[in-house]
């Protein structure tokens, strides 16, 4: 299972391309055996990190350690990590089996050992029957699995995957997510996975690294990142959000007296705020309560009008336009025993949230996204 000693350690990596800083001091410990996902918008430097670990790029500053050994001067072909490329990069002139055998041959693994490992790897990805095919005779999903098997068969200390699922259709993608996660557990191998898809990151990872513009914004479990985003960037990037404006009146222990959307209320937060400070209140769609009549139990009731409703099978999504001008996204889960009234577009409603589920952040004028 997941150990605690880092298998890969990144120390203060800086990388510039043509004067543009692409990585700006990235430090990260990747634990042995964990499934770690690097998540961030396009161009934030995710691929660059993987390429530095694999040895295809050299950092301008900083160090990479693999299993306690410094890696900086080691060429790519001597590093015990393997990459699954987004384009798969299967050798077109070799059969599936020969593709898998390539790394073992280069590594001078004995023939018998190699045969055994190839068989196991093919078995694992369910491709034994296609071993003699050439890659151009395989479907996208099959090529994908060959690419994974070709990397895994070398038994690397870490597997680096750069958006390996982005070319697959939604259904296959879901299946591969489950399979990859399963493989990580089964093999006890460290997986470093890059994606810009938040849902994918959450579905698979032990820990998620949220990046923005060459910097790490937050590292944590999917729950931590979703429920306790450390800043507005993470809050906005990870999942749907409603963001309300407010200002601090006073703070005592965990309770914050504040004005939110022009109304006085009490909020809960462990952060320190000064009276008068501008704040943002971050709410997830499932944090929100919508009623037609109000009771006083909740923090705050904000009047609004239902604008759109979307039936999604297991949930019922709504957009509510508050009278104060903000839009609120709401997700309600179906519950068969519940005699809830489902609101229709145009209904007047009152909106609030479950006390303590809100995240309070300083207003830092995030322009990204």
């Amino acid at each position: 299972m997941t150990g605690n000693n880092p298998i890969i350690r990144l120390e203060n990596l800086v990388k510039r391309f043509d004067g543009a800083t692409v990585l700006d001091g990235v430090s990260l410990d990747i634990r042995d055996g964990e499934f770690l996902t690097i998540l961030g918008p396009s161009g934030c430097g995710k691929t660059t990190i993987l390429r530095i670990i694999a040895g295809f790029e050299t950092p301008d500053q900083g160090r990479v350690h693999l299993d306690g050994q410094p890696l900086n001067d080691l060429p790519a072909n001597q590093r015990r990590v393997n990459t699954v490329f987004q384009s798969y990069a299967l050798f077109p002139h070799m059969t599936v089996r020969e593709n898998l055998a390539f790394g073992l041959k280069m590594n001078k693994v004995s023939r018998r050992e190699a045969e055994r490992r190839i068989d196991d790897a093919l078995d694992m990805v369910d491709l034994s029957h296609l071993a003699r095919r050439y890659p151009d005779r395989l479907s996208g999903g099959q090529q994908q699995r060959v690419a994974i098997a070709r990397a895994v068969v070398n038994n690397p200390l870490a597997l680096l995957l750069d958006e390996p699922l982005s070319a697959l259709d939604a259904k296959l993608r879901k299946r591969m997510q489950v399979q990859l996660k399963h493989m990580c557990r089964e093999l006890g191998m460290t997986f470093v996975f890059v994606t810009h898809d938040q849902e994918e990151a959450f579905a698979m990872s032990d820990r998620v690294v949220v990046m923005n513009e060459g910097r790490i914004e937050q590292v944590g479990t999917p729950e931590e990142v979703y429920e306790e985003p450390v800043n507005m960037f993470v809050a906005r990037f990870v999942g749907e959000t409603t963001i309300l404006d407010g200002s601090v009146v006073s703070k005592e222990r965990e309770t914050l007296h504040a004005m939110v959307e022009g109304k006085a209320c009490e909020l809960e937060t462990a952060r320190d705020f000064l009276p008068g400070e501008a704040i943002k209140i971050v709410l997830r769609p499932e944090d929100i309560i919508v009623e037609q009549e109000t009771d006083s139990e909740h923090a705050l009731w904000l009047p609004g009008t239902v604008r759109d409703t979307v039936y999604k099978g297991s949930t019922w999504d709504m957009v509510i336009a508050l009278d104060s001008g903000k839009d609120v996204l709401v997700t309600e889960f179906f519950n068969e025993d519940d005699e809830r009234i489902w609101h229709k577009s145009g209904d007047r409603v009152m909106v609030s949230w479950y006390k303590g589920w809100e995240v309070v952040l300083p207003d830092e004028d995030v322009t990204a996204l």
Binding site: A76, S87, A89, P92, G103
Partner: protein
């Protein structure tokens, strides 16, 4: 209807392109020796060719040079293409441009400059200067052919090879070379053809004791077009057609 339209446009163009060759092939079977009038079908010109020792010698010389020059040019041209594709170095674009300059420069200029160079080096006109000259003008064509194929590859393939523990040499040997092999063959064929039918450059660098086919034919034609020249040319057209088809097949094949 549309097909007819296409044919209406294509036929004149192809007629224009191939009429001379068709005429040549037809007349290589004409039994009349001097006139352009048709006097009946014959194989005799082809038979006469076989008896012409000078011609056979020249043909063998040409073949030797073509095979050697094509092989040399293919080796060097392929290495150059791979170097240009893989590595970043100072003056890379100048080298690239240089390849095309050689390709485009007029034969007459190449011929004169090579002659001058070989004179400066004190080399006697003949086999060696000819081989070197042919190798020189073939290299850019090989490089261009191989490069165009390399450009079509996923650049991550080479990284994948490195990632799977292959060093420089083995990446070249096991990944790059096998993948551009069709282009390498194609480059060889192209070089072979270019070498076989070069007149101008060869004229400057070869000597009297090393006659080659195109120059031999040229000498024969100066004393009037004879039917045996027609026959020889027809054979060469046949060979060229085969080579071109092979070349196209190689360049089209994916793997």
């Amino acid at each position: 209807m549309r097909r007819l339209g296409a044919a209406a446009r294509l036929v004149p163009v192809y007629l224009f392109l191939y009429l001379p060759i068709i005429v040549l092939v037809i007349f290589s079977f004409n039994s009349s020796k001097y006139s352009t009038a048709w006097r009946g079908f014959t194989w005799k010109w082809y038979g006469k060719l076989l008896g012409n020792e000078q011609l056979i010698d020249a043909a063998l010389n040409s073949l030797t040079v073509a095979v050697l020059a094509a092989t040399l040019a293919t080796s060097l041209g392929t290495l150059l293409a791979v170097a240009l594709y893989r590595y970043k170095f100072q003056g890379k674009s100048a080298v690239k441009a240089g390849v095309f300059v050689i390709m485009m420069s007029p034969d007459i200029v190449m011929g004169v400059s090579l002659l001058l160079l070989f004179m400066l080096l004190g080399m006697q006109p003949g086999f060696w200067p000819l081989l070197l000259a042919h190798t020189t003008f073939c290299i850019p064509f090989v490089t261009a052919t191989v490069m165009s194929r390399l450009k079509g590859f996923d650049p991550h393939l080479i990284e994948a090879a490195e990632d799977l523990y292959a060093g420089e040499y083995r990446t070249f040997r096991h990944v790059i070379l096998p993948m551009c092999l069709p282009a390498v063959f194609a480059g060889w064929l192209l070089s072979f053809t270019l070498s076989m039918d070069d007149v101008i450059i060869s004229f400057f660098v070869t000597g009297p004791d090393f006659d080659i086919l195109p120059l031999r034919i040229y000498a024969m034609v100066r004393m009037g077009v004879k039917p045996d020249v027609n026959a020889l040319s027809a054979i060469m057209v046949g060979i060229t057609v085969c080579l071109v088809f092979t070349y196209q097949l190689l360049m089209r094949k994916k793997k």
